[in-house]
């Protein structure tokens, strides 16, 4: 029988895996590289959220502010990025700097017991997630998964040929904003589970590995989802076996899986 900590870790891994398909769409949109910036924005969002929670007692859950902050950063980056690569990289760097500065400034004002909550977004331990955290992960990951399913066609059409999609009446800017907002929700789920520093391994690598292993888009979705589940299961097992941090072990496994997938590609 699994102890409650391990059980919650497995449940979190399952909900993290629901974030994988939207990352595949970001990969096809050529915008996967923005996701680390979105996950880093979580730090600024977490600091703001905890500050608001401190000021207004328990009225606000910091996780909601994390999602809103990440979504704001993602949509602004995408909007400015339409003017060209130079504007995109400039806006990405500026918003990253703003997010980290907000985190550093607010963190220094917070009482010690609140700083721990904010720092939990930097390096999170998946074994220490509470029941409330699991409920948050469940709700947000299911929302991001459902949006991906419902607007699958629109997202794929924008990825394939945005010009024609727009010519035939699809509101490309609106769906792009929805895509980036959904990515923010998915990124926030992964950040909450493993922390900002390790999130990149689960945001980018499963989607990148799925591109190597599968051609068909539906198979890429399935592969990315399975790779997150596999990384989680093996990572949790490794952490027990070798007494190493669980989140780190999951990120490490994800990296190894990507490396193996890449080696298979090189061999072909």
């Amino acid at each position: 029988m699994l102890d409650p900590f391990t059980l919650r870790a497995f449940i979190s891994v399952f909900f993290m895996s629901l974030s994988a398909p939207i990352m595949v769409i970001m990969l096809l949109r050529g915008a996967l590289y923005i996701t680390p910036e979105i996950s880093h924005a979580a730090l600024g969002g977490a600091a703001l959220g905890v500050l608001l929670q401190t000021l207004f007692i328990t009225l606000i859950d910091p996780f909601i502010i994390v999602i809103l902050f990440c979504a704001g950063v993602a949509i602004l980056t995408a909007y400015v990025g339409r003017s060209g690569l130079q504007s995109l990289s400039m806006m990405m760097s500026a918003l990253l700097a703003v997010s980290v500065t907000i985190y550093a400034l607010i963190r220094s004002w917070l009482p010690k017991e609140k700083r721990i909550i904010v720092d939990g977004y930097l390096i999170s331990d998946i074994l220490l997630l509470s029941d409330i955290d699991i409920i948050n992960l469940a709700v947000t990951s299911i929302i991001s998964f459902l949006i991906t399913l419902v607007f699958y066609k629109e997202f794929i059409y924008i990825c394939f040929d945005a010009d024609t999609a727009e010519a035939l009446g699809l509101r490309v800017k609106l769906y792009d904003a929805l895509l980036f907002a959904t990515t923010s929700i998915a990124a926030a789920v992964i950040v909450k589970a493993v922390g900002v520093l390790l999130s990149v391994a689960l945001l980018i690598l499963p989607a990148a590995a799925s591109r190597i292993l599968a051609r068909n888009i539906n198979r890429m979705f399935a592969a990315s989802l399975m790779l997150v589940l596999l990384s989680g299961a093996i990572g949790i097992a490794l952490s027990y076996q070798f007494n190493i941090p669980t989140s780190g072990a999951i990120a490490f496994t994800s990296t190894i899986i990507f490396a193996l997938a890449y080696l298979t590609k090189l061999k072909k």
Binding site: A162, T164, A165, A167, G169
Partner: protein, 259 residues
């Protein structure tokens, strides 16, 4: 006199605060095949996007099939088929040929854009018109350049448009494929439809075009090929233009390198 299928009245467009189209006037009746030529940055694609209602002019008025593309954008898009430049397509997004052609039908439907039996039949019919029905399950990205262009034209034709807008569909194709596509487009026009093709080069569309528009931010020449195709007019837009005689044919070399 019938109502013009396309009427452009003193249209000017700005992009990033720069005027890219300046005082364009044009009137076309159907059936017709209009070829728009001009150097890089002449505003050719912008002109097509303005006709589609994607880019709004800051001055002037447009009527496509009697409709205002900004006020009645959905109605206009229902009657118009569009084929983009090949570099606008993402070959990383692995769609099958069937999925690509269905895109042209489903984007005209409301979400959730469910595929019906009729949609599949219409998509297959459009593909068979271009002799590509056997490629239904193939990946689009694995087809040759000419086959991909046919699939994109099939996507545009699948919803039975009245007006077909083609953005450099002949670029990079070998002569044989170009001639095949041209005969298909001629057939489309003979069925009473209208084609507006933007091309960087005059060849090969010049042989079938009824009208030619030489564009470089403004209209430099417009009329029948015999009226427009003189060196004096074309040199205003293509300063390095020269013509040579080969095998009894006069060949015009525009001398403008394509980006």
């Amino acid at each position: 006199m019938s109502e013009p299928i396309l009427s452009v009245n003193d249209v000017s467009v700005k992009l990033n605060n720069q005027i890219v189209l300046d005082g364009i006037n044009l009137e076309i009746e159907k059936p017709s095949f209009l070829l728009i030529v001009g150097p890089n940055g002449a505003g050719k694609t912008t002109f097509l996007k303005t006709l589609l209602g994607i880019i709004k002019p800051f001055k002037g008025e447009i009527r496509v099939l009697g409709l205002n593309p900004f006020r009645d954008s959905m109605s206009v898009r229902k009657f118009v088929g569009y084929v983009p430049q090949k570099d606008k397509i993402s070959y990383e997004t692995a769609l099958s040929v069937g999925e690509v052609v269905l895109m042209g039908i489903l984007l005209r439907k409301r979400p959730p854009r469910v595929v019906s039996k009729e949609d599949i039949e219409a998509a297959k019919k459009a593909l068979s018109y271009l002799n590509m029905e056997d490629k239904w399950n193939c990946f689009f990205s694995e087809l040759s350049g000419g086959q991909q262009r046919r699939v994109l034209i099939a996507r545009a034709l699948a919803s039975d448009p009245q007006l077909l807008l083609l953005d450099e569909v002949f670029a990079g194709l070998d002569l044989e494929v170009q001639e095949e596509l041209l005969s298909l487009l001629e057939e489309f026009r003979e069925n009473g439809k209208m084609i507006i093709a933007v091309e960087h080069e005059l060849d090969p569309v010049i042989s079938v075009a009824d009208r030619i528009l030489v564009l470089n931010r403004r209209v430099y020449a417009y009329g029948k090929p015999s009226e427009v195709l003189n060196e004096e007019k074309l040199k205003q837009v293509y300063p390095r233009l020269r013509s040579i005689e080969k095998d009894g044919r006069r060949i015009i070399i525009l001398g403008d390198r394509h980006a």
